[in-house]
Amino acid sequence: MDITVNILLTIATAATPLLIAAIGELVVERSGVLNLGVEGMMIMGAVAGFGVAFLTGSPWLGLLASVVAGAMFSLLFAVMTLSLATNQVATGLSLTLLGLGLSGMLGTSFVGQPGGRLPYLYIPGLSDIPVVGKLLFGQDPVFYLSIALVIAVSWFLFRTRTGLTLRSIGDNHASAHALGIPVIRYRYLAVMFGGACAGLAGGHLSLVYTPQWVENMAAGRGWIALALVVFASWRPLRVLAGAYIFGAVWIGQLHLQASGGISVPTQLLSALPYLATVVVLVLISRNKRLTLTNTPAALGQSFVPDR
């Protein structure tokens, strides 16, 4: 029984950064903006989180710093693509490259330093219940935050008027503009929310998952998060399912290997998130209705108000 609990806990840790970054990017894309800079914002969050935790001694301040750093870094993207109407794909890619380089430079003095770790939640009594105690009441704080985020985003997008407005902007910014909706302002806020989430995911990496700073430690998780959004066809609960499926497949195969069981080609499994995304893309593009209802129609298009 213990081993099952441990496996589930490991899956949760592996899935959490993917989930947080993906749920943020989902909101961004729902507003019609494609920000490929997730990896860059994530790594900035990781270095800021580690740095502040290391310098102040407080992992909580570190976590806050990672959120702020992610949001501030995404602001750069927002100014470029929304105010100056640059190409979103190119700007997003350069945001990732810039983030990787800048974080390496900022983090030079943190290399080889053990940092602070966020404490696990512990509620006397509840956390000690066998099996469910640890799973429900004994995880790291960011895990609970990630679940809360999914619920909040889902409610916001589909149950509030502002969420409806945001989705309408993502589908047709020209009409939204004609109705008097401040398209650019909405998008600024959406992009910054996405940046904050990516930053938080980075903070999870450097403060919970592997409490340390090393260059390029996000190791492609930002790209998996981007793939997850498409895999989930822009639905929050499917992002949750997708993140945990990817986490479970990865952890499951590690256990298969360690137990000396059937060996699956691990190269294939590393490529699985991307393969799954391609399959999902093929499936949804075959179904016209599905494509129309979920894909933000204005995704990736620059918006320049003509008056």
Binding site: T210, N216, Q257, T266
Partner: protein, 355 residues
Amino acid sequence: MKKLLFALMTTAAAVGFAATAEAQEKLKACWVYVGPIGDFGYSYQHDQGRLEVEKELGDKVETAYLENVAEGPDAERAFERFAREGCKIIFGTSFGFMDAELKVAGKFPDVKFEHATGFKTAENMGIYNARFYEGRYVMGQIAAKMSKKGVAGYIVSFPIPEVVMGINAFMLGAQSVNPDFKLKIVWVNSWFDPGKEADAAKALFDQGADIITQHTDSTAALQVAEERGLLGFGQSSDMIKFAPKAQLTSNTDNWGPYYVERVKAVLDGTWKSDDVWLGIKDKAVLLSPFTNMPDDVKAMAEAAEKKIADGWNPFTGPIAKQDGSEFLKDGEVADDKTLLGMNFYIKGIDDKLPQ
């Protein structure tokens, strides 16, 4: 006006000339790294070697480096740039730079080239490598002594000879203490992904290992061991700060002495293309202080380290391959070529080597 311009130009030329003349007095030594120097692993250790050259040779040298240079044909630009910038000796520190470096070496016969872990040489290109497997043998012995369950977990990147050699050496060390020792191996298909390494460590511990070692670069696996109150080994760098209660020792790369020696040779004009494979004896492979173990285990580890430093090779027969067929006869020592092409497990490893 024209005169003024001319005067300016000649001054600029003179200043420029003075600058190059001054630069020529110092020998320029250059390094090309595959990863960031901030990886606290492989490239970090090479850079520590570069810093040692600066420290040791002081005013006589100036150094430069390029990090994050992709392996393959693209690396050619990095080497060519250094050669044109006046580097007199260039160290390429990754296997995949081999052909690119060789090509550039052909174009610049006056520049000395050094390539780590490869096998192609030229008149002006030497190769160097380190016998990390020697350290791994000692680690295997320690693991067999310290493990309560007799099971170690081993996190690995890719099934190349360097890695397979390490697994076999570790197992040989362990078997010399406990013939029934078990090894659980997990491939993560990456040299560097702290998250994946941590996941793999957790899986190995959950599956019954109580000691962890890795042939990947980050401190993540050791941190998991620390968190769970279990034991493990460091890799490339001394990682004791990350796991003060878990690290037994660390198999560290120490390139400094070799770099100092080779740069000195260029200064003296005695540099020749060479082919060296350095080990514990040459202090190119260093085991960081033995910690978190009782004195008798420490004494055993020190004895093994000394035996290897005195010239004994862990790959000395009798050793059987995994399928039971003979690999080395009693007393036979594996030659370097066999080791560098190793693509099989030794007997007692219960895992299938991915091909």
